[in-house]
């Protein structure tokens, strides 16, 4: 209620009159004062003219508003005005006092009934506010009132009516009843009008309520009057004159308001009564939206909400202003588009604008206007909705989005940067501006030192930054956080005596948050923000700082890990290259050595081969191949002898059992004899082989056999000749004896002597013959020895012969080549000259055994040649005996120089060892490289996981109550945003889930994406979804726009393709279905998104579509995929995108 001083004073009039009446009643003053014509004049002036004027105004207002309430009020005033004026003038008629009283009191009763009816009707009788009524209603009612007044007056004058006043007796009971009724109706009407004023706050009703109340007091006072003109009569008259004045005040107040608004009095009153229909009024007054009616930019009506929006307490305060006065000048039409002023009339087009209230407060509102007819004239009604909260929510959402933008961009910048520690400056300055902070510090812990270095900062001078560049653990807030790894939030710093905050306090900071940079449980630095604009950060702000800190920690740690990996990789590459070079050199040398070895093996006059335990022959030298042919993968017994089983007599595989060298003799398939040496051999792959060397000793055996044969023959011959010689000698001795006997006999007998001489001569001839034979035999023997000498001299194998004193007696050419010494130099020297000094004793020890008849069999004895080189020789020996077979004549030894083979074997072993070592090193480096790659993959997986989590957090944020306007439009916007973010989050989830970081498996990606969108728009799964994209993979640069395109199109399908009235089974003979497929089509990819719904509206063109979703589809397809778009509308809708499969190479932009 708005009660000003005037109203308060006016209200006092009621108790004042009551008090006067009480006092008069107590004092019982009965003075009568009734001068002639005074009452008539006063009645005519106050309760005649004024009520009649009001009745006139009411009649005109009724014409405009059609309100029966105003007409009843006017009727009440009319009957009072007519009745009281007439009753005053009747008094001049002698004896007409009863008629006067009857007329006055009857009019009071009728007038009070009209007043009460008007108030009651106003509150309870809904009347259409459209248009006014015809004059007929006025004439009928007002005519009735006039007729009634005249009728009462005439009947009273004629004495027909029951008496109200009897001279000498005073008022009758009837008068008392009539006046009591009038008093009751006036009192009730007064209370109702006061109630109406309280409800409407229209001053008209306040003044009218006072007026009616004073009429009631007037009735009460004149009831007590004992005579016309006594003090009670005059008190009542004054009260009714005052009542008439208040009634006039009500009209004047309305007129004053009308003048201020520039409207007529009738319009103003019509406004009170045309909206007086309580049903509408309550509805309108209590409407949550502001409702105003205006014409020519002037307010005609405003409900409570509108008053509050305009900052007015009463309509009167508002009505003196025009509409343009209360609208933000920025929104008024000056080339803008929101509001147009059309012929001095503000017309809103349903847009948002800002109201400037009378209290100066600015309110965001959405306004809708419509033309109406108000009080019989054209006007404008405006519905004003307060959208301040929605704006706040939008602002909060915008801020949230901005925050997420900052986080997402921060993550992108940090993770994309090669030098994230440099990006921190830029990123933190953005966060600082967003949080309205004035400083930030980023410290990084120096490795293995208990201190930190200032990496980035803002809000302090260079000198100050230099001063605090290095910070020990435990010093200031950052030092404590760096040491403890725990966040510190300092609030109201200027009033907190915490020593740790001395530094930031000196910078006028009042709130400060310092977060540790933690990666994999290890603190690597700190990030802190401070503000001097408020004493503390909100929880949301500290969460943002924490999120930024986590991103910075991840990026910096990632960079460090990458540097370490890169460094390790570079070192590894260098070492691999170095090792590879060495290995190549070694392999080359080995290859060369092998070739040399193979060449040696190939040119050896002996056969060399390798045999596997399963009788296969992986290697055989040329000698072997020429003798026995190629094995062609067959077993040795097969290709050599055509057998199916191993040979029973083969000694080769003895080595397999003994793992020791074995020597034996073998007759090959070529029927030649071979001296076989088998050695255990480990191949490069570790497998066990047998290396066999065979020396063709057939010729040697033949020579030896021949030699043996000749020797035996010689010995036989010598024995024979010796026997013959001995026999001849014996015979000769006998002959000589005989000769001597004969000579003696000759001497005795001369003749016998001659004969005997002749016989002797004959014997001599025979002896000569024998001697010749002996010479011949000696010659033959000499020839045989020469052959043997040549055989020894020209044998390929080195042969040496020594006598029992170890003096060398034979030294063949092969031995000369071996030692570089000539036979002439050596023969006659002791055997020791052949051996190196350090092997001398051991060698002679072996040699001495031959003196006991032992034979050397494959014994290694080193030989020293002229150049001082040591040659390794395998020895075999045989002992030659004298003819007695016991006395050792000499020892012959045959050698085989295996120095080159030994060297080759040693070199091969050495190379094998180096090769194995290099392989081991390579394997180890490969393991390290694999480990580093694994770490990198884990890091990449972690990055994608974090990006996905941030997007998921954004989706969750959108779901929070208050993050969006909870209207159908707000919910739709939320769903769209969530699905767009979800499509991007799923990309990253697919990457780390599949472990492929450069290619997105679109089958893995699209199925969950479409499932999630289906859940958000079709939770009851009424619409079937089909996805076919198995085997299709796209790079990240194409997968992201593909995901967004699919999201937008199927969102449209869910929203619009299947309205409730559309029956898929009936129209399409199949359930409602949305299909997505991605497949190769020749050189292109073909992405198809379709539904079997109602199809697109006629004239649809995706190129000119205005919705954000379809604009995104068209733009992404054209701009990023370079796709050709085809829209098919046969059965439902199908949109096909064809794009090249050429992968673009793209970095981070």
């Amino acid at each position: 209620m708005n009660i000003d001083r005037r109203k308060l004073l006016s209200l006092h009039s009621i108790p004042v009159f009551v008090l006067i009446i009480v006092i008069l009643a107590i004092l019982n003053i009965r003075t009568v004062f009734e001068p002639p014509y005074l009452v008539e004049a006063l009645n005519t002036l106050f309760v005649g003219i004024i009520p009649l004027y009001i009745a006139y105004v009411a009649a005109r207002t009724f014409k405009i508003s059609g309100s029966m309430s105003i007409l009843l009020m006017g009727s009440g005033m009319l009957v009072i005005g007519l009745g009281l004026t007439a009753s005053g003038w009747i008094l001049v008629v002698p004896g007409a006092q009863n008629a006067s009283v009857t007329l006055a009191n009857s009019c009071y009763l009728v007038g009070s009934i009209f007043a009460f009816s008007a108030a009651l009707l106003y509150l309870s009788w809904p009347v259409s506010s459209k248009g006014g009524r015809t004059i007929t209603s006025v004439v009928t009612i007002y005519g009735g009132v006039i007729a009634f007044t005249l009728l009462i007056m005439l009947t009273a004058l004629l004495g027909i009516t029951p008496p109200f006043f009897i001279r000498g007796v005073g008022p009758t009971l009837l008068r008392a009843v009539v006046l009591a009724g009038a008093f009751g109706f006036f009192s009730a009407a007064s209370i109702l009008f006061l109630y109406i004023w309280i409800r409407r706050q229209e001053d008209f009703f306040f003044w009218y309520s006072i007026s009616v109340a004073l009429f009631a007091i007037c009735i009460g006072s004149i009831t007590l009057a004992a005579a016309v003109g006594d003090v009670f009569s005059w008190t009542g008259r004054i009260a009714q004159y005052t009542a008439a004045c208040f009634a006039l005040a009500a009209i004047v107040t309305a007129r004053h308001n009308a003048i201020k608004k520039g409207i007529s009095l009738q319009d103003e009153l019509a406004r009170f009564f045309s909206v007086s229909d309580e049903g509408y009024k309550i509805l309108v007054e209590n409407a949550p939206d502001g409702i105003i009616v205006y014409r020519d930019n002037r307010f005609l009506y405003a409900n409570n909400t509108a008053l509050r929006l305009f900052g007015a307490e009463t309509f009167d305060q508002l009505s003196i202003h025009t509409i343009p006065d209360l609208i933000s000048s920025d929104d008024l039409n000056e080339g803008g588009s929101r509001i147009h002023q059309n012929r001095d009339e503000v017309v809103f087009h349903g847009q948002e604008t800002r109201l400037i209230g009378l209290d100066g407060k600015e309110t965001n509102v959405a306004v809708r206007t419509a033309p109406i007819e108000y009080a019989g004239r054209p006007a404008v009604i405006a519905i004003i909705r307060d959208i301040t909260e929605r704006k706040k929510a939008e602002l909060a959402l915008q801020k949230g989005v901005q925050k997420l933008d900052i986080l997402a961009e921060t993550a992108r910048l940090l993770l994309a940067s090669e030098t994230p520690e440099h990006i921190v400056q830029n990123v933190c300055e953005r966060v600082m501006r967003y949080l309205d902070c004035q400083i930030f510090f980023n410290y990084l812990i120096e490795d293995d030192k208990n201190r930190m270095r200032l990496n980035a900062w803002a809000g302090i001078s260079e000198e100050k930054a230099h001063e605090i560049e290095m910070l020990d653990f435990g010093v200031a807030v950052c030092g404590c956080v760096g040491r403890d790894g725990e966040r510190i939030i300092a609030e109201d710093i200027q009033h907190t005596p915490d020593k740790r905050t001395d530094l930031v306090r000196s910078l006028d900071i009042s709130a400060y948050v310092c977060h540790p940079l933690i990666y994999q449980g290890k603190t690597i630095g700190t990030l802190s923000f401070g503000t001097c604009s408020r004493p503390r950060f909100t929880e949301e702000e500290t969460e943002l700082i924490r999120a930024v800190t986590d991103l910075v920690a991840t990026a910096v740690a990632r960079k460090k890990s990458e540097d370490a990996v890169r460094k390790t990789r570079d070192e590894l590459d260098d070492r691999v290259q170095e090792r590879t070079a060495k290995l190549n050199t070694a392999v080359k040398a080995l290859s060369s050595e092998r070739k040399r070895l193979y060449d040696v093996l190939e040119t050896l006059p002996v056969y060399v081969c390798l045999l596997t335990p399963d009788y296969h022959m992986p290697f055989a030298n040329r000698f072997f191949r020429e003798r026995f042919g190629e094995s062609h993968g067959r077993c040795c017994y097969d290709f050599l002898f055509g057998r199916t089983d191993p040979c029973e007599i083969c000694d080769t595989y003895t080595v397999l059992k003994t793992r020791a060298p074995h020597h034996w003799e073998w007759t090959g398939p070529d029927k030649r004899n071979y001296d076989i040496y088998d050695f255990p051999f480990i191949d490069t792959d570790g497998s066990f082989l047998i290396m066999e060397m065979g020396i063709d000793v057939t010729e040697r055996r033949k020579a030896e056999a021949e030699l043996e044969k000749h020797r035996n023959h010689l010995e036989d011959l010598i024995s024979q000749r010796t026997v013959e010689l001995e026999s001849a000698n014996t015979q000769l001795r006998e002959e000589i004896s005989k000769y001597n006997q004969a000579k003696e006999e000759l001497l005795v007998k001369n003749e016998d002597l001659n004969a005997a001489y002749e016989k002797i001569t004959a014997s001599q001839e025979e002896l000569q013959q024998i001697n010749d034979e002996l010479i011949k035999s000696e010659e033959e023997l000499r020839n045989t020895s020469q052959y043997l000498e040549n055989l020894i001299n020209y044998a390929n194998a080195p042969i040496v012969v020594w006598d029992p004193n170890f003096v060398i007696t034979r030294f063949n050419r092969a031995f000369e080549e071996l030692t570089g010494r000539t036979a002439r130099e050596i023969i006659g020297q002791r055997l020791e000259v052949l051996f190196p000094q350090r092997y001398l004793d051991a060698s002679m020890e072996i040699i001495r055994k031959t003196m006991h008849g032992e034979r050397l069999k494959i014994v290694e004895i080193p030989i020293l040649n002229r150049k001082g080189e040591i040659r390794i020789v395998l020895w075999n020996s045989a002992t030659l005996f004298e003819s007695d077979g016991k006395t050792i004549q000499s020892t012959i030894a045959q050698g085989n120089d295996i120095t080159e083979r030994k060297l080759a074997e040693a070199e091969l072993a050495k190379r094998n060892e180096e090769l194995n070592s290099a392989i081991d090193e390579l394997t180890r480096r490969g393991d390290e490289l694999a480990e580093a790659l694994k770490e990198r993959e884990i890091l990449l997986s972690e990055i994608h996981h974090r990006v996905k989590n941030n997007l998921t957090a954004f989706i969750s944020l959108l779901s929070l109550k208050g993050s969006y306007d909870e209207t159908p439009a707000g919910n739709a916007l939320k769903k769209d945003l969530q699905n767009r973010a979800r499509s991007m989050a799923l990309i990253h989830e697919t990457l780390y889930r599949t472990g492929k970081y450069s290619q997105v498996d679109m089958g893995e990606y699209l199925s969950p994406l479409i499932h999630q969108i289906a859940l958000s728009y079709d939770p009851s799964s009424m619409i079937r979804t089909e996805v076919k994209a198995d085997g299709a993979t796209l790079d990240l640069n194409r997968a992201t726009p593909c995901g967004l395109i699919v999201t937008e199109i199927i969102t449209n399908s869910f929203k619009y393709a299947f309205p409730e009235s559309f029956n898929c089974m009936k129209m399409r003979s199949e359930p409602c279905t949305i299909r997505v497929s991605l497949k190769r089509d020749g050189e292109d990819y073909c992405l198809s998104v379709s539904d079997n719904g109602i199809g697109l509206p006629p004239g649809f063109d995706i190129r000119t579509a205005q919705s954000l979703g379809l604009r995104l589809v068209y733009f992404l397809a054209r701009h990023q995929l370079k796709a050709r778009i085809e829209v098919r509308t046969g059965v439902g809708t199908e949109i096909i995108f064809r794009f090249s499969d050429t992968h673009s190479i793209k970095g981070i932009s």
Partner: protein, 123 residues
Amino acid sequence: MTAKSILIVEDEGLIALHLMEILTNAGYRVLEPLASGEEALRHLEERTQPDLILMDITLDGSLDGIETARQIRKRYATPVIFLTAHSNSLITARAKEVSPCGYIIKPVLEKDLLEHVERALHV
């Protein structure tokens, strides 16, 4: 007076669309965005010259934004503003060699973008 025309060379579709909206709302005539340096050079050769080019540094194709701007500078007088997420000194130094009219770090704020564009067009 006709609106100034601006060519956007940006390979990320959403960013290109966002830039296009900001500039269109600000009253500029925005040509259809391009995604690679090769497309930009072809456009300049075959069509009318824009009043300003907004050039992302990392682009699809073999030419990056800096190299594209270098070739544009050799043949035309069209001013170029770089857009990039990079802020390291090496890339900044490379970008300065081609004397751009501006260098905007992503994410782009509407106010920053319009100030740079306004300044570049007046220069």
